[in-house]
């Protein structure tokens, strides 16, 4: 497969940025960027919805309780983004074909969004402070539990946010707007001081 280039390549220089980390409160804020192997949006309608959900659960070995719960394992991450809409990240490159075959059989719709989003991960106990500068949702743990996802926006740039753990979030940002989003996130995080790392698992 041809190597994918992201608009953020070369933009995120590893190392420390922004307010210098003073000794007594070292900033543990880390930001990293990754493109995802494959990303697909599945759409189901009320009648065929149940069939599609069970298909997805079988394919991904994850259970979908509904609402905003966003289960994940080694291979798959499912993010409900609206009524009957699921954004699914798969680690394998050819996931699209499988989804198309199985979901279409259940009369759902499958759209490849692999190139349409760039993923930025931000982690550290200042992560909520930085994100709350530009995104109008409540990032507290009770309002936004771990392993759930939200659709919101910053400055009219739509994005999907998934809480990976207590203070780490994956941000799925539109590719064409990724640099503008990064320009904001960099400025917002510089107030606290942050580290760019290759890959935070």
């Amino acid at each position: 497969m041809v190597e994918k280039t992201s608009p953020l390549d070369g933009l995120l220089k590893s190392g420390h940025h922004g307010r210098p980390a003073n000794s007594d409160a070292p900033a543990d804020l880390k930001i990293s960027h990754r493109t995802c192997e494959s990303l697909v949006q599945v759409t189901a309608w009320p009648k065929t919805g149940k069939g599609i959900v069970t298909t997805l659960e079988k394919m991904t070995h994850l259970s979908l309780e509904g609402g905003n719960s966003s289960p994940a394992n080694e291979d798959f991450t499912i993010m409900p983004t609206g009524p009957g809409k699921y954004l699914i990240e798969a680690q394998s490159g050819d996931a699209i074909g499988q989804f198309q075959k199985k979901v279409l059989a259940e009369k759902g719709a499958v759209t490849d969004l692999t190139h349409a989003r760039v993923v930025i991960r931000i982690s550290g106990d200042q992560a909520m402070w930085v994100l709350a500068k530009g995104i109008a949702i409540d990032f507290s743990l009770q309002a936004f539990p771990v392993a759930t996802s939200r659709n919101s926006a910053h400055h009219q740039i739509g994005l999907t946010i998934r809480r990976v753990n207590e203070n780490a979030f994956d941000l799925f940002v539109f590719t064409s707007l990724a640099r503008s989003f990064w320009h904001w996130l960099d400025r917002a995080a510089k107030e606290v001081g942050y580290e760019i790392v290759r890959e935070i698992k």
Binding site: N68, G82, G84, N151, G158
Partner: protein, 91 residues
């Protein structure tokens, strides 16, 4: 304002766009009457009080929400999902 999106929960109004009067009923496809189409496109009740209106959660789940809001106090009285998953429609 805070709109209680039936799918996403209460969200700030900056995530929504206003899509106007929620009482309009588009004439049937087969209806060729110009008067009926004119009424649908141009007539507005524009009440000073409770108003049924539609908001689009553009920066959220992208669903349409039928909101009952008072145009004198901005108090939102009810929010209901529209579209295939609307409660009103047979599942």
């Amino acid at each position: 304002m805070l709109i209680d999106c039936p799918w996403c929960g209460p969200r700030s109004v900056e995530e929504f766009t206003y899509r106007g009067d929620g009482t309009l009923k588009r004439p049937a496809l087969s209806d060729r009457s110009i008067d009926a189409a004119n009424a649908y496109v141009y007539d507005r009740e524009n009440p000073a009080g409770d108003h049924m209106e539609i908001w689009h959660h553009g920066n959220g789940c992208r669903s349409h929400i039928l909101v009952k809001r008072n145009t004198l106090t901005h108090k939102i009285l009810s929010c209901e999902l529209l579209g295939p998953y609307s409660a009103g429609r047979k599942k």
